[in-house]
Amino acid sequence: MNSAPKTGPAKIAVRSDSFHRWRAHKDKIASRIIGLGGLVVIAAVLLILFYLLYVVTPLFLPAKTSQASLVGNKDWLKNETVFLSLEEQQQVAFRINRSGLAEFFNLDGLHLLESTQIGSDGQHVALAAGDQGESGLVAVAFEDGRVGLLQNHYSTDFSEGVELRRIVPKLDFPYGTDQRVLMPEGGITGLVLSDNESEMLLAAAGSGGRVRLERNLKQENFLSGEIELESSVKSLDVDFDIAAITISDDHRWLYLGDADGRVHFVNTNTLQVVQIVPVSDAGISSMSMLLGGISVLVGDTRGNITQLFPVRDVDNQYSLQVIRRFEGHQEAIARIIPEQRRKGFMTVDEGGKLSIYHSTAGRVVLQQQLASGAPSALALAPRASGLLMLYDDGHAEFMDIDNEHPEVSFASLWSKVWYENYFEPEYVWQSSASSNEFEPKFSLTPLAFGTLKAALYAMLFALPLALMGAAYTAYFMSPALRRMVKPTIEIMAALPTVILGFLAGLWFAPFLEENLAGVMSMMLVMPIGLLLFAWFWTRSSWRVKDLVKEGWEPVLLLPVLAVLAIVSIEFVGPLQDLFFEGDLRTWLSREAGISYDQRNALVVGCAMGFAVIPTIFSIAEDAIYGVPKSLSDGSLALGATPWQSLVRVILPTASPGMFSAVMIGLGRAVGETMIVLMATGNTPIMDWNLFEGMRTLAANIAVEMPESAMNSSHYRILFLAALVLFLFTFVVNTGAELIRQRLREKYSSL
């Protein structure tokens, strides 16, 4: 009764002031840390976009050069230079002068390292030509028509440690010091040297239209291991003055340029002029082969440069065709220098203007006027990172070049390009091959096309199932069943795409190949069979009908659909014997010209559709479920059937939500990697054929990224593909999210 406490009032612990100050302090620290942490996380999230941009931007930056700096001025450089080359580290250069001296000198201070006399006293050098590759082989033609061969190469000496590395130059005579009599009458005006594994070839053009071709077949002596040459000389006389001469790397085609702007295409075996191609109406002033020795670059006296290469037609006949033209010079082209390791080249005209081009991208990378005018000799470093220029008055200049990604341009990424050895311009993605002379083909169009194709077929499979399913679940389904169906769809969403992909590639693709007719017939059999069943069910008076309450139809339909699927594959499929001569696949390829790959777009469409269905389903279902019931009740009260209410009232109200669901699903389909990787053939072809594979941007990144050299053009282009995917999904998802937010506001006002 009396609940007065027996003891006195409870002791309240009084905390000290410092404790409360500590509490306030803790609060402040906590808010600082949390604030910092939150911002750091947000920054990390945004870092992705910025890092992608950071890696991609250098692709589109222009090439740069430094100012040409004076290296020095030496008297011995005044003797006219006939040949100049630079070694890899840009420290030592090699030149041959008019008197026949082969000199190695240091760039730093222009110290002369070595000087060797080639040729006898009094023999003056007419011209010299280096071999196309990096062998360092040089042919020196003297005025009396004799030709000597020498080789310049370099070794590194680390004897004093890594820091004090020395470049040691060496002059060799791998083919002996004897001079060859190539043109006994003298008067050599053009010289070409080409050394490949089987043959060493010298071609000389003389005044008056004389051409001499010396072929030296290499044979390895089994006993001594030495290489012996079997020489044969052939002559060709033409009726025009040869302005320039060059030869292809496979030694099959000889190119002669004349003063009327025409290129003569000569077969070296028959020594017949197979074709004459008019390149310009001005005379040809310079010709050179591009890396790989397939394309020939022709410069004329008006400053135009043209690229040609032989194109094979269906009958295996070669014809020389003009591929592209490059502009930018107004004066005669003095020299065309190809890059040693890329498909780019540099040109200098007589007025001293320098241009750097890239052949595949078809673009001019850099144009600059050289301050000191046209040099008398030029050498491009092997890495194309520097240019050495020698002038008549004996001074030398050096210029650094920063040209990292010349092969990338908007045209080379997105339009058709005529690649070497192709019949016509095409979209090709082929990023690397085994040799250095390979022309990288970076067209993103086949990949973007593949991505769209996969996404489209996936949406085609997913949209009907997801949207119709969502409409039923939100509107007609009984709440109890809905509570079971929603988690099942969530489980569907949680399934890893690896598993979907491997099932598609290892089980579904062979299954489809075996039962193509059956699976295709499912598209007809299932709807028709289903409707027939529905009609008979509605009309019948079976007792079973009472068990299936309203809103539980899907449960009833489960066995029905399963039976229809089995019927379709087991019974309708074999009917293909009647209609398609036994095999649908062979019929397709024979009659309709549609080829069939085992792993094709249909497989991907189904698998990726499966992955995307739950995403679209949940969002669309939320949108339709969220429509206020009053709208539906009103419509039904006015006499509409449930279906009419759904289609005329509910769906239009929820349409923004459904639209956003589709957008998010599309974003998901575009970015999907594993399914595509496993269920397609990963071939970058551009074909809408349902039964052929494709390669998507995402799968391409997964396949090629681990093998890509860091910061190379290929690496950055893959990052560009990732950036494209990122931006696409970001834009699509933001749009969808904004639409959904607007929809939520709209519902709350209803």
């Binding site: 509490r23 609060d27 089980w507 899907p554 995402a698």
Partner: protein, 552 residues
């Protein structure tokens, strides 16, 4: 007829079609799970060995023994087109895929046989299936055991064989422990000495004194190694002492070294109980053993271990970061355009393709950060990269970034379910904001945090695309966690369940042998993920129930 027209005009057929869409989706999911389940579990069930007398094309008879793996019906026309003779009058021909094993003798371990050409089939009780370390499975009959060259004379050859096999397996375990753990530890320490020496050279402190210290330590380790090597040699000699004499089904007598046999069973003699026991034993071996034969046989323990370790590490990163970010966004930041923009950004990041995260991880984490770490701290090892290449640490970070949006969204959802009245009440009683958060709000939001974490873990277990770029490999020689300091090797590459499925299914040298393994691994992965998701759904449901009453 009129009712039909009315039925159509009412729109009811469309309703049925919509219902069918739901059923189709359900069927697809259930069908897929059943397919994986059945085929996955079939890998563990011991199949009977059939002895088949087969008539070949040229009329000669061939005796085969094997397990029937698949059965399919092909058109007679297709067989004729490929050159095989088929008797007229039959439209379809059944053919079986027989796993004969014995790849070292027969050249192939699977072959297709046509049903009409089978002359007789029976199941001899004495057929034994031997699982081996190399060359796959051997199917034959046991003759006897040879111990040190002498054939044992024993009534119960099977029992003697099993005893001997147990002994050999114990020796094999000892050898494995010796090689991996003890010799591995010595090698690891020798390598550390080498790196230490190189480090001294780089810093210029490689005086004679320091070098002598290192050299003496190396000498000690070398001695230890030699002792261990001797022990290993002895173990190997003992292991190689025994062999088992077997007969192939067509009468060839082969001697198999006991060291190559891992497990053996007689499927034709097993009754149902034995088969069930064998089934569970196989499941255990699958989960606990290392892979053999280029991942086409054996178990997937390293993949499970790698996945679990990576997921743990990822959780350690993602939970604090995600919770802090969500708390900041919800409780501390001023709600305006900025936070709205951030929320949209975070939601979108959940939808960004996972390969983009992989690319970012490779470029930024591995090359940039990892390269810098190498230059600063691991110069001795250069040019071999330590952190400048993919590994456990970078993979966990990348996946943490990938699953961060999931945790943030889930935590925010959990926080938003807590009614304002609770926060206001706590503040009214004099608690600071931090104390409210720490003692009241966060514990109430912990189910939401847990849901987020579980969903993140489920996603990380299944994501493969980014991992392909940042540090998962087909076969890792060592686990990232072992007995050598620093015990957790964050720079090591590891194996992952999802990637294992991709690798074994598509980059395997022997596709037929690998296929059951792929289904089994997929089954394991699906079971784990489905369980995790069901738990998350339950937690979320319970959470929304609990607080429904609190909201006014």
């Amino acid at each position: 007829m009129k009712t039909l027209v009315k039925w159509i005009a009412d729109g009811t057929p469309w309703v049925w079609l919509n219902a069918a869409a739901v059923s189709a989706s359900i069927l697809l999911v259930v069908g897929l799970l059943l397919l994986i389940g059945v085929r996955g579990m079939a890998h563990f069930w011991p199949l009977a060995v059939q002895k088949i007398v087969y008539q070949q094309v040229d009329g000669s008879e061939l005796i085969l023994a094997g397990q029937i793996r698949e059965k399919e019906k092909v058109t007679a026309k297709r067989l004729r087109e490929s050159g095989l003779e088929v008797a007229q009058g039959s439209e379809f021909v059944t053919r079986y895929l027989l796993k004969t094993g014995n790849r070292d003798i027969l050249g192939q371990d699977f072959r297709w046989i046509l049903e009409p050409s089978i002359k007789s089939v029976n199941k001899p009780l004495s057929m034994v299936v031997f699982e081996r370390e190399e060359w796959g499975v051997f199917i034959g009959m046991l003759i006897g055991v040879r111990e040190a060259g002498e054939l044992l004379d024993n009534r119960d050859t099977w029992g003697a064989f099993q005893q001997n096999l147990d002994h050999a397996n114990r020796l094999r375990d000892e050898i494995s422990d010796l090689e991996k753990n003890r010799i591995g530890s010595v090698n690891y320490r020798i390598e550390r000495l080498r790196l230490k020496q190189r480090g001294l050279e780089i810093k210029g402190r490689d005086t004679a004194e320091n070098l002598a210290k290192i050299e003496s330590a190396r000498v000690l380790l070398q001695e230890e190694y030699e002792l261990l090597e001797q022990e290993l040699g002895e173990l190997y000699t003992r292991l190689r002492r025994d062999a088992v004499l077997v007969n192939t089904v067509d009468g060839q007598e082969i001697e198999l070294p006991m060291s190559s046999i891992v497990y053996a069973y007689q499927p034709n003699q097993m009754h149902l109980g034995g088969k069930i026991g064998h089934f569970f034993h196989n499941v255990w071996r699958f989960v606990a053993d290392d892979p053999r034969e280029a991942n086409t046989e054996g178990g997937i323990f390293p993949a499970i271990f790698g996945t679990v370790l990576m997921v743990l590490l990822m959780s350690v990163f993602v939970t604090p970061l995600g919770v802090v970010a969500a708390v900041y966004l919800k409780e501390y930041a001023r709600q305006g355009l900025f936070t709205r923009f951030i929320r949209i950004a975070v939601n979108n990041l959940a939808g960004v393709p996972s390969i983009v995260y992989g690319v970012f991880g490779l470029g930024f984490f591995v090359y940039t950060l990892g390269g810098s770490l190498d230059r600063l701290f691991f110069q001795e090892a250069l040019p071999a990269p330590t952190f400048g290449t993919g590994g456990l640490f970078w993979a966990s970070l990348t996946l943490a970034l990938l699953t961060l949006p999931v945790v943030i969204v889930s935590t925010e959802e959990g926080l938003s379910r807590i009614p304002r009245s609770i926060r206001e009440g706590s503040l009214a009683l004099g608690a600071t904001k931090w104390e409210t958060l720490w003692r009241t709000v966060l514990p109430m939001a912990s189910p939401g945090i847990m849901t987020g974490l579980i969903l993140a873990v489920a996603r990380a277990a299944g994501e493969v695309a980014p991992l392909m770029l940042v540090g998962v490999v087909k076969l890792a020689p060592a686990l990232p966690l072992d007995g050598n300091a620093p015990f957790l090797h964050l720079d090591r590459k590891f194996m992952h369940l999802g990637f294992h499925i991709y690798d074994v299914g598509f980059q395997s040298p022997n596709v037929e042998a690998a296929r059951p393994l792929v289904y089994a691994t997929a089954l394991l992965l699906v079971v784990v993920i489905v369980l995790l998701n069901l738990v998350a759904i339950q937690v979320r449901n319970r959470l929304s129930e609990r607080y429904r009453g609190l909201e006014s």
